[in-house]
Structures are given as structure tokens and as C-alpha cells.
């Protein structure tokens, strides 16, 4: 009984510490953003949302920011293009990352740790510096720019609308997407690798015994079994990409609209804190569905591990 009692209180304390930290520094700040998004700004102070005057509480909500966002088509376009770039990045990461993770997981078990280390290595090197490096590679006369233009690939990119005209790669949708794919590729590879390397290969042998060709077995067995990895990887790429700020700022052009940049500018350049908050609230609403999917699969993945 004595032991049970101390265990119980200890358990409570163990839960309380991280819980309190997250409530205080994660959830509570979001509520404040919500509050400020419906406040009016006066000089540097916000008007209180709830005021007490003449014996009555008054709730003053200003939805002006939201109305403005709804009316100004530029915001709509920005949300749309953020989602567009994020989706394109996710698709490309999946296209490059799935075979990559697959062949990694099927490599000899002695080389797998080395391959994993090689994927992690860029991860340990500063992300900011790696993005900056692309600036040098893609700028006029940079090694990659010379190669792309020399081989005529820029004609194709221009035809696809990824660069405005052949010959210039930097500060275009192309350079933005390249930078995002580059940065987030490990986030796609790692969960997929974790998933694919745990797969029971006997299932493939069984499929082969039953007459399935390797290609059929891949589509009917490997891909469905790696669904959790595909979803986890896609969410790990898609959601942060929607709000990405650093990469568009360094590699994007004036026409590549991204919502992260709008929040940043409203906040730091225009000093319009309520507006920045409103834009952020809408972005949170935009990613809450993918976020919920991510958490669901994360929980399921943990269940299957046990």
C-alpha cells in the first residue's frame, strides 16, 4: 500500500512536468494568437477583448482582419500557392525518396548502417548553409546553372512554367522547389526506411510462390504495407513546407508567394501583429487536418511496434 501510494504520486509528478511545459509554452501561446487576431491594435498596445464597464462585461471581437483576408485576393492566392508548392515538393520527395528508401532497406545488412549515416550526415550539417549553397550553384554561372543550361534542360523547365524564361534559374519557382525538395528529402527517406526495413520479407516469398511477379508483389504487398511510412513521410514534408520561410526568402523569387513570408512581413515589416496573427490562425486551420492524420498514423505506428 505504501509503495503504491508513492508510486502514484511519483507518476503524477512525472506526467505533470512535460505536460505543464507544453501547456504553458505551446497551447497557451496559440490561444494568445487567437485572441490577438481578433483584437484591435492601438499604438503599441492591444485593446482588451473583454472589458468591464458600467457593471457589464463586454466582449469586443474585431473580425476586420479576417474580412480583409477574405476580400483581398492576394491572401487567397498566397494560401493556394503555398499549398501548391508544398504538394509539389511532397510528390517529388516521395518519387525520389521511396525508391531510395526501398533500395536502402534491401541493401546488404552490413552496409545499411553506413547508408543511414550518409543520409543523416547532411542532416547534421547546417540546413541554412546547405540552402545558401544552392544560391551559389544556381546563380548565373554557378555549376548547376551551367549544367542545366548547357544541356538544354532549362528549355524544358521554361515549357513547364517552372522558370519564366530559359537561361535564369535563381529566384524562380524552380529554385524554390529544388531547395525545398533538397531540404525535406531526408524527412521522407527516414520514416520510409524505418518502415520498409521492418517489413517481413517472407510475405514477398509467399507472393512469389503463389506466382506473383516481383512487380505485382511490389504493388500489392510492399506498397500497401508501407502506407504508414508514406503518410508519415508526406506529412513531415508537406506541413512544414506550407509555412516555410527561410527557403523562399533565400531561393524564391518575387512571384513565389508563400504564407510563411506573409506572416513574417506582416509582423516584422508592417508591425501589424493582429494581422500576422489572423494569417497564422487561418494557416493553422489549413494544416490541422493533415496534422490530425499525421498524429493518428504516428499513434498507429507506435501500436504496431509494440
Amino acid at each position: 500500500m505504501q509503495r503504491f501510494k508513492s508510486w502514484f504520486t511519483g507518476r503524477r509528478l512525472v506526467i505533470a512536468v512535460p505536460y505543464a511545459f507544453l501547456l504553458l509554452f505551446f497551447l497557451f501561446p496559440f490561444l494568445i494568437v487567437g485572441k490577438i487576431s481578433v483584437s484591435e491594435m492601438e499604438a503599441v498596445a492591444f485593446k482588451d477583448v473583454i472589458t468591464f464597464a458600467d457593471g457589464v462585461f463586454q466582449l469586443t471581437l474585431k473580425f476586420g482582419n479576417y474580412l480583409y483576408i477574405a476580400e483581398d485576393s492576394l491572401y487567397f492566392k498566397t494560401y493556394l500557392s503555398s499549398v501548391h508548392y508544398a504538394a509539389l515538393t511532397t510528390a517529388l520527395c516521395l518519387f525520389i525518396g521511396y525508391p531510395f528508401a526501398y533500395f536502402m532497406a534491401r541493401a546488404r545488412s552490413t552496409v545499411q548502417p553506413a547508408l543511414l549515416m550518409l543520409v543523416m550526415l547532411p542532416f547534421w550539417t547546417s540546413f541554412l548553409l546547405r540552402v545558401y549553397a544552392w544560391k551559389g550553384l544556381l546563380s548565373d554561372g554557378g555549376v548547376v546553372a551551367q549544367f542545366v543550361i548547357g544541356t538544354g534542360i532549362d528549355q524544358l523547365l521554361a515549357a513547364l512554367g517552372l522558370i519564366p524564361a530559359p537561361g535564369k534559374l535563381m529566384n524562380t519557382p524552380f529554385s524554390l522547389i529544388l531547395g525545398m525538395v533538397y531540404t525535406y528529402l531526408p524527412f521522407m527517406i527516414l520514416p520510409l526506411y524505418a518502415n520498409l526495413s521492418k517489413m517481413d520479407l517472407r510475405l514477398l516469398e509467399a507472393a512469389a510462390d503463389l506466382g506473383a511477379s516481383p512487380w505485382v508483389a511490389f504493388w500489392k504487398i510492399t506498397v500497401p504495407l508501407s502506407k504508414a511510412g508514406i503518410i508519415a513521410g508526406s506529412m513531415l514534408v508537406f506541413i512544414p513546407c506550407v509555412g516555410e520561410y527561410v527557403i523562399p526568402e533565400l531561393l524564391g523569387g518575387p512571384e513565389t508567394l508563400m504564407i510563411g513570408r506573409v506572416i513574417w512581413d506582416e509582423f516584422f515589416s508592417n508591425n501589424d501583429w493582429p494581422m500576422a496573427s489572423s494569417v497564422a490562425v487561418i494557416m493553422i486551420l489549413l494544416i490541422i487536418v493533415p496534422l490530425a492524420i499525421f498524429n493518428k498514423y504516428q499513434a498507429e505506428a507506435q501500436e504496431t511496434v509494440r
Binding site: A45, R106, V119, Y132, V143, L185, P214, P240, I263, Q298
Partner: protein
């Protein structure tokens, strides 16, 4: 299962191309850092002058010192918080608010940093108005990084905790160890390696962060990534290449040493297992 010849070569080619893509910018940074020309497109011979100029670059040095302090504090705090959170998630299957808790732990992993930074700053400003503190600076940057670092540390420690054999802990309990003793004497030594990787991971994440740092830093508290970012924004800058090359060198040495230690330990483990099997 024997892979077909085509499959084997296709796989190797895909991996090689992928690694080429991942490492190209890193190699380019190192090469450019020795280029005498400030432009990346002209090679004008080998030089060390960008490294020399770093030594007199007060802004970078001050940023580096602050970044190291923040990263050290972040790594220590994240490992403690992340271990506790991982322990809660793995060991306590039912308690009120578990879903909210696991959601909040994972959310900073994917939540765009712009939103996290904005919300933390607006809260800190509100608190500061009410209480008069904290001033924006090292402590506020630390809090922001802690939030991010804790999420990563939890993932790393959690996956290790899940692989542990619960019978070892049960045995210790049966032998009369109190829960705290079980944790310190049995669980902790078994997850020690994951704590080290979580520490290193959160250290690098903190050392690299731009967005949170910019929202949470105050006047006179500029971290190194903020200095680099403001220079990179303006265009190409050879001093950034030199910083990059130094980072690459330090990271590579660290990773090589770590993988050597891990490989040696793994070999020892296999030898022990083989010896035990023979006996």
C-alpha cells in the same frame, strides 16, 4: 530472395544519384570557401583569406558564442524533458488528457516554425507587459528551442524505450527496487545511447535555427544563424562559405568518430554473443 541483375544496378544507380544530390551543395561550400574570387562562378586560385577574415569578424564570433550557449542549454533541457515525455508516452497508457499530450509533443515537429515563433513571442510580450519580465534574449530563445528540441528528443528516446524488454524492469521491481531506483539503475543505463544521440541532435537543431531565434531574440542577442541569414539574404558572401566549411569539417569528424565507436561496440556485442553461445 535474389534480386535480379537489373534491379541491383538500378537500385545502386538510384542510391548513388540520391547521395550525389544530397552531398553536392556541401562539397560546393567547401570548395568555394577556398576560392580567391568572391564569385562562385570564377575560380581564381586557392586562398585562406576568407578564414582569416572570420577571425576578425566580431559579429560572427559573438553570434557563435551565443549560439553555443543556447545550444548547450537547449540540448541538456531537451534531453531531460524529452526523456520524461517519452517515458510518460511509453509507460503510462492511460491517464486523463493523454491524447492531448501526445498531440502536443508531436506538433512542434511539423508545425511551421513561423507560427510557433509568432505565438511564443506574442505570449512573451503579453507576460512581459503584465510582469515586467522576461527580457528578450538568451532565455527566451532557449524556451523556443526547448520546445522544438523536446519534440525531437522525445521521438528518439521513445523509439528506444519501446524496444526495451519490460521484463528487466519487472525483475528489478520483483527484487524490491522502488520505481525511482528501477529508472535510475535499470532503465536509464539501457537508454543511455539514445540520450546521447538526442543530445547531439537537439544541439545541432538549436545551433541551426533561424526562425524561432529571430522571433525570440532581442537587441544585442544575435545568434550565428541570424548573422549568416542576414548576410545570405543580401547575396553570396565568401565569409559564409568559410563558416560552412568549418561546420562541415567539425560535423564530419564528429560523425566519423561516433560511427567508429558505435561500430566497435556493435562488434564487441556480437563477439560476446558468439562467445556466450559457444559456452
Amino acid at each position: 530472395m535474389k534480386a535480379s541483375r537489373f534491379n541491383l544496378w538500378f537500385g545502386r544507380a538510384w542510391l548513388a544519384a540520391g547521395f550525389f544530390f544530397l552531398f553536392l551543395p556541401i562539397v560546393a561550400l567547401v570548395v568555394y570557401s577556398f576560392n580567391d574570387s568572391p564569385l562562385p562562378n570564377v575560380w581564381r586560385g586557392f586562398t585562406l583569406r576568407w578564414y582569416q577574415s572570420l577571425l576578425n569578424d566580431g559579429e560572427i564570433i559573438a553570434g557563435f558564442v551565443l549560439s553555443l550557449k543556447v545550444a548547450f542549454l537547449t540540448a541538456c533541457g531537451s534531453v531531460v524533458l524529452g526523456t520524461v515525455a517519452a517515458f510518460v508516452l511509453v509507460k503510462y497508457k492511460r491517464f486523463a488528457g493523454r491524447t492531448v499530450f501526445s498531440g502536443m509533443v508531436n506538433a512542434p515537429l511539423v508545425m511551421p516554425e513561423v507560427v510557433v515563433g509568432l505565438s511564443l513571442l506574442l505570449m512573451l510580450v503579453s507576460v512581459q507587459r503584465a510582469l515586467g519580465f522576461p527580457e528578450r534574449g538568451l532565455v527566451t530563445i532557449w524556451i523556443g528551442h526547448l520546445l522544438l528540441g523536446m519534440a525531437y528528443a522525445t521521438v528518439v528516446v521513445q523509439s528506444r524505450l519501446q524496444d526495451l524488454n519490460p521484463r528487466l524492469e519487472e525483475a528489478a521491481m520483483d527484487l524490491g527496487a522502488r520505481p525511482a531506483q528501477v529508472f535510475w539503475l535499470v532503465t536509464l543505463p539501457m537508454i543511455a545511447q539514445s540520450l546521447v544521440s538526442a543530445w547531439l541532435l537537439t544541439f545541432t537543431i538549436s545551433l541551426d535555427d533561424v526562425v524561432l531565434s529571430n522571433f525570440l531574440s532581442g537587441p544585442g542577442a544575435t545568434t550565428m544563424p541570424l548573422v549568416i541569414f542576414s548576410r545570405a539574404r543580401l547575396g553570396l558572401n565568401p565569409s559564409v562559405n568559410a563558416v560552412a566549411a568549418i561546420t562541415v569539417a567539425v560535423v564530419s569528424i564528429g560523425v566519423i568518430v561516433a560511427s567508429y565507436v558505435i561500430a566497435r561496440r556493435e562488434r564487441q556485442r556480437l563477439l560476446d554473443a558468439a562467445a556466450a553461445a559457444r559456452a
